[in-house]
Subunit: 390 residues, 2 copies
């Protein structure tokens, strides 16, 4: 789990050693990272849970590629909702279950299988393959940023996040927000003398739903045509009140705001602030007790890859070879470390992986093993074409 990635990284490191990669294992957290404008993490201590990069050096003359995956996973939620232990790895009817199975161990394993197939076949690539297993994707990409700042860039990158075998060439950015809502406490028996921060929060949440609606109506990019809410605003947490029979005087709402590929984080922030300021027009409470809006924890830059980039055609071709059909190309409904790789690392990114988006962060998360093997084949073919064979 996030904050405790070392045991999972140990498995990755052992696999990389067996495959003969040049290993770079380091604890992130250096000054250059912490002071970078894109750096974003609420984590105080990165020690003991390293980033891992394994390089398969090419013979020269081919294009290089980064294969980027993250090792951290989100918490499992209510354990009673899981059929098995959230970390069981139980396999049933071709699915492997567990937190992180789809987001994104399935993708990580697909990449390692692709590399293992190439290496064990005795094939030598011309371009370098840079395999990355980073921490901190789920809360802002500090692991990938650290890898970029350490000098890892390439002619292209694949991130096998759970796209359900689609190619995501544009990526939604996102950032976390915290809204503090004031009320006025009173005895619950005379609740009409107070102002309930939970009731006021309901107005805030309703306003955010309106804003989400307005923002999504603007999205006309055909890549988003099958996504019900291209840039969602998710209400992830609420906490209010200390005592059942008191009117609560404070509520804290936390969530995640999606950012369109063409938007900047700054523009998106301003739009939310302006929207919430409208609350004061119909309810003077908000004029007298303005909301506090903070941007904390995670933020993910959006990503954009031009439609005719050769990386897209190489992956598409490999896909057709394996699947005998054209891949679906879409824009991702969520942010990935691709925003950092492309914006900070100037590395063109396609997100493509075997997991199902729906299963990510859900209970009974799973990966369809057949998809994982197919993705491995597609990635292997892509490496042969992109990096070229000696």
């Amino acid at each position: 789990m996030r904050g405790n990635e070392s045991r999972a990284q140990a498995v990755i490191i052992e696999k990389c050693r067996r495959l003969g990669f040049s290993l770079d294992i380091w604890e992130i957290g250096e000054e250059k990272l912490l002071n970078h404008p894109v750096f974003c993490s609420d984590r105080k201590d990165f020690s003991g849970n390293p980033n891992v990069v394994g390089v398969l050096k090419g013979s020269g003359g081919g294009k290089s590629i980064i294969l980027n995956s993250h090792i951290d996973v989100v918490p499992p939620g209510d354990r009673n909702d899981w059929k098995d232990d959230p970390f069981s790895g139980h396999i049933e009817e071709g699915k492997l279950y567990g937190r992180g199975a789809t987001d994104m161990k399935g993708g990580t394993v697909a990449m390692l299988l692709a590399l293992e197939a190439i290496i064990s076949s005795g094939i030598k690539l011309k371009g370098d393959v840079i395999f990355q297993s980073v921490i901190e994707e789920e809360s802002g990409g500090a692991g990938t940023l650290a890898a970029v700042l350490r000098g890892y860039k390439a002619d292209g990158a694949i991130i096998p996040e759970p796209t359900n075998m689609k190619l995501f060439t544009k990526q939604q950015g996102s950032m976390w927000f915290r809204i503090t809502v004031k009320g006025r406490s009173a005895h619950g028996g005379t609740r009409y003398e107070g102002v309930n921060a939970i009731e006021k929060s309901m107005a805030v949440i309703k306003k955010l739903e309106e804003l989400e609606n307005k923002r999504n109506k603007r999205i006309t990019d055909p890549l988003y045509k099958d996504i019900p809410i291209p840039i969602p605003i998710n209400i992830g947490k609420i906490q209010s009140g200390e005592w059942p029979s008191s009117v609560p005087d404070l509520a804290v709402i936390e969530g995640r705001m999606g950012v369109a590929p063409a938007e900047t984080l700054e523009h998106t922030k301003k739009e939310m602030i302006a929207s919430l300021e409208e609350l004061a027009e119909t309810d003077s409470w908000f004029a007298d007790h303005p909301l506090t809006i903070e941007w904390f924890g995670g933020k993910w830059l959006p990503g954009n890859l031009e439609a005719d980039h050769p990386l897209i055609s190489v992956i598409s071709e490999s896909f057709e070879n394996v699947k005998k059909s054209k891949p679906v190309i879409e824009a991702s409904p969520w942010g990935t470390d691709g925003g950092i790789l492309s914006n900070v690392g100037q590395t063109p990114v396609v997100v493509f992986g075997p997991g199902v988006t729906k299963a990510a962060h859900d209970v009974n998360e799973y990966i369809v093993l057949e998809n994982m093997f197919e993705a491995a084949e597609i990635i292997a073919l892509t490496l042969l074409k992109w990096c070229e064979v000696n």
Copy 2:
């Protein structure tokens, strides 16, 4: 504060000693109390924070009276909203500020002043005066129940809760509830694949508002004519979500439900359950994922005193002597330990005190000192008439 009443009780004990009361100081929590059907507390340990009863034995032949006050107070809420430290006791323009000033140290002091005046005047009463400083009123009345079970009953009782110098002859009962709302988790970027427990909670809260409205329309007792919401349903707490970018799969709402003087707790519970079951009629989510409703922590029995009870006329007469006007007689908008004193202890109760209901549980809680002194005079005159002078 609740759970830490010993220092405040020490002040009370010292005062009682000086007034020459027979003191009874004991830690509650005996089997008889814990197994009583009305017992209600989430507190595991009562040790170190005793109940205090001081008896001024009469010479015989007069009516006895219980003067009941509670020593526990609710938490102070957001300390930044307070002008001074919540426990400062700061006095400004005739008001003394601090958590518990109105609920109900003002009333406690008024009673002790009344007794001090009588004792220092050399007056001997015929009836017994039983002064009680109990713990646990704010969370279910275990302190007063323990006093009743220890044998303290009387011909009448005054509880100087903050009635703003009104006489509350009927008392609203109340109880705490906890509602658990299920959702289905998902990645916030594809939030449409999940079901947000916070959104479902908003539907639950809206339903509770409708129920509150329906229940209060039924209240026609003229004693409640000036109370905007005679039996409120207060939403006191909500907690949901673990992660800003996940759809939360669980929300817990806690609150307090008012019970009319003529209602039973059982009837009221059934009405809430039936009302919340209606949610399933318009949203199948609730049919497939029923709410869990628990009744926990505090419960306060409602109280009823017949309009022609002599205790009312004696207090009213004393009020007129001091204030030169008739007292306002109402029904209380909140529960008190009077429900236990009257229902379990068969002791007729009038709630009458100097504090302002609005200030109770609020920030910058205060007591108007002048009211406290007037209440002391009224209580002193009441004791002379009720217990009679030797």
